[in-house]
């Protein structure tokens, strides 16, 4: 649980991102498609904040803006009190060590031409002072072990692993830079249910052990509810509701949140008919 007193690790205020629409004739920008606007939230050390929404809600755009993959059009992003909004690519490099990302697609997010060892060491190649070159193999193996992969397979290529194992490689790559916050962009939505639980547990363990903060993005309400301390519900680029996860899931106030919760199929609908408290994930605390 986060310490309530400490300053936020990451502060996002009134974030707005728009994608330009260019004319087909001269490629001049004629207008812009607003992906997200006026998104505001904090993440404290060791805390998990969830971004939930359907496709096109802008939740991935928020993640990409925070880690500097897209430029915000408006708003402020502060990391440990530093305003990083206008940082150049070079300046951003130091922030990237503290802030890492785990991607959605375990197949597309790993360079197919690198071995697991090289994938994990890629960050060390970019940031020279973290691990000396002669320690790369040993450290990479240590990280593999930490995320539950057999370190003997450090010379294998991503295609030799299953989806869940690849996602573990992606997590190890993020951990290699020893970040304080990891942005998880739908990290389990491409995985099967049984494997998804393994990865969620791993993320949970790492948080406890390393004091990581997560910005966790998902369309899956049950995953968000399981993992997050606080939640933002996004709809068409706007935050329609945000606050304590438990409260939002138990007493949604916004119509959209209610509709969203009601739409989630219940695993054991027959239990609901008996019990009054309707929960998106079935299984009321009986």
């Amino acid at each position: 649980m986060p310490e309530a007193k400490s300053a936020p690790l990451l502060r996002v205020a009134h974030l707005k991102v728009a994608y330009p629409i260019r004319s087909s004739l001269l490629q001049r920008q004629i207008s812009a498609n607003v992906a997200v606007s006026d998104v505001t939230f904090d993440i404290n050390p060791g805390e998990t904040v969830g971004l939930v929404g359907e496709s096109g809600s802008g939740k991935s755009t928020v993640a990409r803006a925070v880690i500097g993959l897209v430029k915000p059009d408006d708003g402020v992003i502060e990391f440990e009190g530093r305003n990083i909004t206008g940082y150049s690519r070079k300046q951003f490099k130091s922030v990237r060590r503290e802030m890492q990302m785990v991607f959605q697609d375990p197949y597309a997010s790993l360079n197919p031409r690198l071995t697991v060892r090289d994938l994990i060491a890629e960050g060390w190649r970019v940031h020279r002072d973290i691990v000396p070159r002669d320690r790369w193999t040993a450290e990479a193996k240590k990280l593999m072990d930490r995320v539950g992969l057999n370190p003997d397979y450090s010379d294998r290529y991503p295609h030799q692993f299953s989806g869940g194992q690849r996602q573990r490689i992606g997590i190890a790559r993020a951990l290699a830079l020893r970040p304080k916050v990891i942005i998880c962009d739908e990290p389990v939505s491409a995985l099967d249910v049984s494997v998804q639980a393994q990865v969620l547990n791993l993320l949970d363990d790492l948080q406890e052990e390393l004091g990581l903060a997560y910005l966790f993005i998902s369309h899956d309400l049950s995953v968000i509810e399981h993992l997050c301390d606080r939640v933002l519900v996004l709809h068409h680029g706007h935050v329609v509701e945000q606050g304590n996860a438990r409260e939002i899931f138990e007493r949604p106030r916004h119509e959209y949140t209610k509709a969203l919760l009601a739409a989630v199929p219940v695993v054991r609908p027959w239990l609901d008919q008996a019990d009054e408290g309707r929960h998106p994930t079935g299984e009321p605390a009986a």
Binding site: Q27, I67, L69, R89, F92, K93, R96, R97, Q100, M101, F103, Q104, D105, A108, S109, L110, N111, P112, R113, E122, G123, R125, V126, H127, G148, L149, N150, Y153, R156, Q160, F161, S162, Q165, G170, R173, L177
Partner: protein, 299 residues
């Protein structure tokens, strides 16, 4: 936690034999052309040395002799002699040497330039990309052989000029392939992941994007190599290629056309060598494409 490594299947049946054959097929189709190309390369290097071939040396008594004729100096012209009495085998191999030299040099120049420009354009986009692609559009509006004919006739004949001409008309192909590949890779999550690690332009271009471009570039290089050799032959055939006295497969074929009805071998034999070379590259290119692009591979 075990990696799912492919393991031998438990049973052998018809479908599996089919699959195995398809896999072996690709390997054979890569190895055999490489061996053929290798033999021609070795021949092109060694044979002219052994024969002390002099393209300008005329021996009028030994003109137009059919394959297998014993020449005056006691040797055997296994592939016959041409219209000035040169040994055709030596001439073909010397011609292959020129053709291969032109091919390799052109490919290296146009490949490196094209790949570099394509990478830059794809990675940075913006005005550089726009400018490059418009140049490519203009250049593709020229049938490349016309450009070659025009430039070659202005520059004058010569092996060096041929290489320049062919490089000018070929870099575009590499640039376009590299660029489109980069554009495809650019938004792949693993490239984003490298950016999220803080990788700079240099790292992104050469460690992340370039390796991803290599497969299609190699395939294109194979087919372009054949095209370059063919274009050189065509230019020499039209009389704007290699200078008189320099043997190339194209010029030897051209010289032989006037004697086709009386001495068929002068034109036909270098033609066959050219065809074998083209076939080898064609098969190699196809096999590499199958290997790199499994979508088109038959089950």
């Amino acid at each position: 936690m075990t990696a799912t490594a492919p393991a031998p299947a438990p049973a052998v049946n018809a479908t599996m034999r089919h699959a195995r054959r398809a896999r072996r097929g690709v390997t054979v189709r890569i190895v055999v052309p490489l061996v053929v190309i290798g033999l021609i390369v070795v021949g092109a290097i060694v044979v002219p040395l052994v024969y002390h071939y002099d393209p300008l040396h005329a021996d009028l008594l030994a003109r137009l002799k059919p394959p297998g004729t014993v020449t005056s100096d006691g040797g055997t012209a296994i592939l016959g002699t041409d219209q000035i009495g040169s040994d055709l085998f030596a001439q073909i191999m010397a011609g292959a040497r020129v053709s291969l030299l032109v091919g390799v040099a052109t490919l290296v120049i146009s490949g490196v330039v094209g790949l570099a420009l394509g990478l830059l354009a794809g990675h940075f986009g913006g005005w550089l990309d726009a400018a490059l692609m418009r140049i490519a559009d203009v250049q593709l509006a020229f049938p490349s052989i016309l450009l070659a004919i025009l430039v070659a006739s202005v520059l004058g004949q010569g092996v060096g000029n041929i290489i320049i001409v062919l490089s000018i008309s070929n870099w575009v192909v590499f640039a376009r392939v590299a660029r489109s590949q980069v554009l495809g890779l650019k938004n792949r999550e693993y490239v984003e992941a490298a950016r999220a690690l803080g990788a700079g332009n240099w790292h992104l271009m050469f460690r992340t994007l370039l390796p991803g471009c290599m497969a299609p570039v190699i395939v294109v290089a194979t087919t372009q190599f054949a095209q370059v050799i063919l274009t050189e032959a065509s230019l020499s055939f039209l009389g704007v290629g290699v200078p008189l006295g320099t043997p190339s497969l194209g010029s030897t074929i051209y010289n032989g056309t006037q004697y086709l009805s009386t001495a068929w071998w002068i034109s036909t034999l270098p033609g066959i060598v050219l065809v074998i070379l083209m076939l080898a590259f064609g098969i190699l290119g196809d096999a590499l494409r199958d290997k790199f692009d499994p979508r088109l591979r038959s089950a």
